[in-house]
């Protein structure tokens, strides 16, 4: 055996899991096709959003049930982020000074009230604020807003440095990292362990973690397993720097919007505007290529942002970029062990910057102790076990 566990994917989940596993005395080996943190982990907008996201309210047929399941994790994530700098040491650019999810229309306001009631019932202390309360709290926001939901613990962190901070710590505790190492084979061995192949190198371990985001389904397919995780290409934009004025994370209940002022002063804008998957020569989506910007979506994203914060119009757009996250079949994360393949664990499925450090710890703890995590139980791959009822392994 080359390691206690092979981790496929060197983003936030892979590096943070390696950190916790190493601390628990295991030897993880992480392989990453490119540079660490080159994927969605490093490209996302850095939001720490603990309120129920608009995407759950927008799509779900049963918004109540879906929301309640994620709130439990969100509450734990707040504490996770609050303790992260002490855990890792150093400045991680974590700012948790509050978040406002705004409402523009009547319909928005109603949805917001519904959401806040749900959240309060589940123990998340969001407060519904009337439009009149906003100018005092956030004078840079539009006076036309109907109201907002306030949560004191929301905020943002620096996605560009977190995964490698975990990696450096993990490496110091004995974890091994192989960047620029592309997976070319994954199989279960006769003794129930796993072997991965990356070009000319092979490694064996009793366990494997798939921490590979939008590549998860493709990697799982190497074992004949179906993981209902689908690539979601998104768009982010950033303005020039300005003196600090915006301490809060801004979101919108009725529109796709997230907005924050990064530590360096740039305004980062996102919120779920889609980009377009590149196509390979075969006409199929190319998972390895950067997603393509849809300029109309960049403009639309900025238009919503400027409506909510009029001062944005005087700023200068420096860059728009894309990142590919992934979404599961029911919009909730998938985290835990796959019953059909004992020793194979997965963690992916949306909001994995906000939830990443928490999920990584819970999963690592369950792997190290051998006991499944109670907090991750609602997100276990078991709920999709029916998809793998016909899989033949090894």
């Amino acid at each position: 055996m080359d390691a206690d566990i092979l981790i496929i994917g060197g983003g936030l989940l892979g590096c943070a899991s390696a950190w916790h596993l190493a601390r628990a005395g295991l030897t993880p080996l992480v392989i990453e096709a490119g540079a660490l943190n080159a994927g969605a982990s490093g490209q996302n907008a850095g939001s720490l959003h603990f309120q129920i996201e608009r995407r759950f309210l927008e799509q779900a047929t049963d918004a109540a049930a879906l929301g309640s399941r994620i709130v439990a994790l969100n509450r734990l994530a707040i504490a996770e982020w609050a303790g992260l700098e002490a855990l890792l040491g150093g400045d991680l650019g974590i700012h948790m000074h509050g978040g406002l999810m705004v409402a523009e229309t009547e319909a928005d306001a109603e949805l917001l009230a519904f959401k806040v009631a749900r959240e309060n019932a589940l123990g998340l202390p969001t407060e519904l604020l009337d439009g009149a309360a906003l100018p005092g709290l956030a004078p840079y926001l539009s006076r036309d807003l109907r109201g907002a939901a306030w949560l004191a613990s929301e905020g943002h962190a620096n996605p560009r440095i977190l995964a490698t901070a975990f990696a450096a710590g993990a490496q110091a505790m004995g974890a091994r990292f192989h960047a620029r190492t592309r997976l070319t084979g994954l199989r279960m061995t006769r003794d129930g362990g796993y072997e991965i192949e990356a070009g000319s190198q092979t490694w064996r371990a009793p366990q494997v973690m798939l921490a590979c985001g939008h590549w998860s389904a493709q990697v799982a397919a190497r074992l004949g397993l179906h993981l209902p995780l689908y690539p979601v290409p998104l768009t982010m934009s950033v303005t020039d720097r300005t003196a600090p004025f915006l301490p809060y994370l801004i979101q919108h209940v009725g529109q796709r919007l997230s907005m924050k002022q990064a530590e360096d002063g740039n305004i980062v804008i996102g919120g779920g505007w889609s980009a377009r998957m590149a196509r390979g020569g075969d006409g199929l989506p190319d998972l390895d290529a950067p997603a393509e910007l849809v300029p109309e979506h960049v403009c639309a994203n900025l238009a919503v942002a400027a409506r909510v914060m009029p001062g944005l119009a005087r700023r200068t757009l420096l860059r728009s970029w894309t990142g590919i996250t992934c979404i599961s079949a029911d919009q909730l994360p998938i985290a835990g062990m796959i019953d059909a393949a004992p020793g194979l664990h997965v963690a992916a499925g949306g909001s994995m910057f906000t939830l990443g450090p928490l999920v990584a710890r819970l999963l690592a703890e369950s792997i190290a102790s051998g006991a499944p995590s109670a907090d991750l139980e609602p997100f276990s791959p078991r709920r999709f076990a029916h998809l793998n009822a016909f899989t033949v392994l090894p």
Binding site: G10, E32, G34, A35, L36, N37, A38, G42, R160, I161, T164, A167, A168, Q171, F177, A179, R180, T239, D240, D264, P290, L293, P295, E296, V298, C299, A300, L302, A303, A306, L312, A313, R314, R315, T316, L317, L318, R319, S320, W321
Partner: protein, 463 residues
């Protein structure tokens, strides 16, 4: 502006873009010529403002073909000129052809069946202690301030770097009544000759540029301007106020020297503009020896993106004459001309190639980079020092970093210029640390917008 799509859109109104426009207009193709400058000409013939009169402007014999091309361009009523306009992005249109995002004097979308990117090159920014002091500029800046704005960049100019073009600039500065304290080359004369030697025979077939350089040297000697070889500039120092350039420190013959000046122009060579081709998806390659990325193209100047052409310094820095030839070839190719029509241009291209090769060899800055460590800023936009960059490279070394990974860690390349000034230096530094050739280091991913865009205009023009 016409709403129909254009047959051809040409980005860049320098020699290459202009030459292409002549060909496409002559072929009856509707042609838009776009440039950030208010008037065509490129950098080499950057014109004075409309309303200025400049006697004998760029009247030298060497510029005649360029002036004739420029006059023909400006007189052409069939050509659609869009000056003062930036192209922030190019996308392949679903229906075929391309959509260009314009900003500035003209904003909104422009559609064209075929596009030529002829955006030229820019002076390679070279970091050294003190280089961010006001008064430290590129040689190109000193030249265009004089050529176009009719302004001397300062009271007393020092030119320094490895590129012989600084001799021509020094001569122009003196002829305009300016004071040049010295022209400093890090290479010795012997080293320059040694670099030139393999290319000399071929270059002598096009003696014009060599004679111009010799003429510049003679003029500088007559004017008493010292041209000092083996002089490595180590630092730019502030004046008494501390707020602007006051002088230049250099080492020659093992001895430290200081020259007082209020403007210092660095001339280490040129970097092809590669941001727009990269944003458009065209393949580029590291442009040895100086650096930066040249856009790859086939023999008909088509890039790796069908319908997207490139010409001039954007394909590799080789001078204005070659740029004109490449532009002519690209224009003819966009007009679907037969190979036969391109033949005479190819012959001229071959004749000029040796001088371009000579200049590249003589001007090669690689042995002459000033030491830039510690506090010296590598990223001017975000104030990222060499020490910070080196620490990031060291910290991330176990994790296989590319240029983007270093950028993520320490912000180099994240400012207004998006790496135009610093990316080449970062790639070189990373390559050296990893024992790779610079061409093997994955560079930044270039994205829209290729120039900073005011958000209010962007929202207004939203399609």
């Amino acid at each position: 502006m016409r709403t129909d799509p254009f047959d051809v859109a040409i980005v860049g109104a320098g020699p290459a873009g202009q030459a292409a426009a002549r060909a496409t207009v002559a072929a009856g193709l509707t042609t838009a010529l776009i440039d950030e400058q208010p008037r065509p000409g490129g950098q080499i013939l950057r014109q004075p403002p409309v309303g200025f009169g400049v006697a004998g402007w760029m009247s030298g014999r060497a510029y005649r073909p360029l002036r004739q091309l420029l006059a023909a361009t400006e007189d052409d009523t069939a050509l659609h000129w869009l000056g003062g306009t930036s192209v922030a992005g190019i996308w392949a249109d679903r229906a075929g052809g391309f959509r260009l995002h314009l900003a500035g004097a003209r904003s909104g979308s422009l559609h064209a069946r075929r596009v030529l990117i002829a955006t030229g090159c820019y002076d390679m920014p070279v970091a050294l202690p003190g280089w961010t002091l006001p008064g430290v500029i590129s040689a190109g800046a000193a030249q265009t301030l004089l050529k176009s704005q009719q302004i001397l960049a300062g009271q007393r100019l020092v030119l320094f770097g490895s590129h012989p073009l600084q001799l021509v600039l020094a001569q122009q500065f003196v002829a305009a009544g300016g004071d040049v304290a010295a022209v400093l080359f890090p290479q010795t004369r012997a080293q320059m000759l040694r670099a030139a030697w393999p290319h000399l025979a071929g270059a002598l077939r096009t003696p014009g540029p060599l004679l111009a350089a010799a003429g510049a040297l003679a003029a500088l000697r007559r004017a008493g301007v010292p041209v000092i070889h083996g002089a490595a500039v180590t630092r730019l120092t502030a004046d008494d106020s501390g707020a602007a350039l006051g002088g230049v420190d250099y080492v020659a013959g093992g001895v430290e020297h200081h020259l007082a000046c209020d403007v210092a122009a660095q001339c280490f060579g040129f970097v092809p503009q590669s941001d727009l081709p990269r944003q458009a998806g065209a393949r580029v390659a590291w442009s040895a020896p100086a650096g930066g990325w040249a856009t790859l193209c086939d023999a008909r100047m088509q890039s790796s993106v069908p319908g997207l052409y490139v010409a001039g310094e954007t394909t590799g820095v080789a001078g204005a004459e070659i740029a004109m030839i490449e532009g002519a070839i690209a224009g003819l190719a966009m007009a679907d001309a037969a190979e036969d029509d391109l033949r005479r241009f190819r012959a001229r291209h071959r004749r000029l190639a040796p001088f371009a090769a000579l200049l590249r060899a003589v001007a090669d800055p690689q042995p002459w980079w000033p030491a830039a460590g510690g506090d010296t800023l590598l990223c001017r936009c975000e104030d990222v020092s060499a020490a910070t960059v080196d620490a990031a490279i060291a910290d991330l070394a176990p994790f296989g970093p590319d240029a983007s990974a270093i950028k993520q860690r320490c912000r180099i390349g994240m400012g207004l210029c998006q790496g135009r000034s610093c990316e080449h230096a970062l790639v070189r530094r990373l390559a050296a640390a990893q024992g790779l050739a610079p061409g093997d280091v994955a560079p930044f991913r270039t994205r829209f917008p290729v120039r900073p865009l005011p958000i209010d205009a962007l929202i207004e023009d939203a399609p």
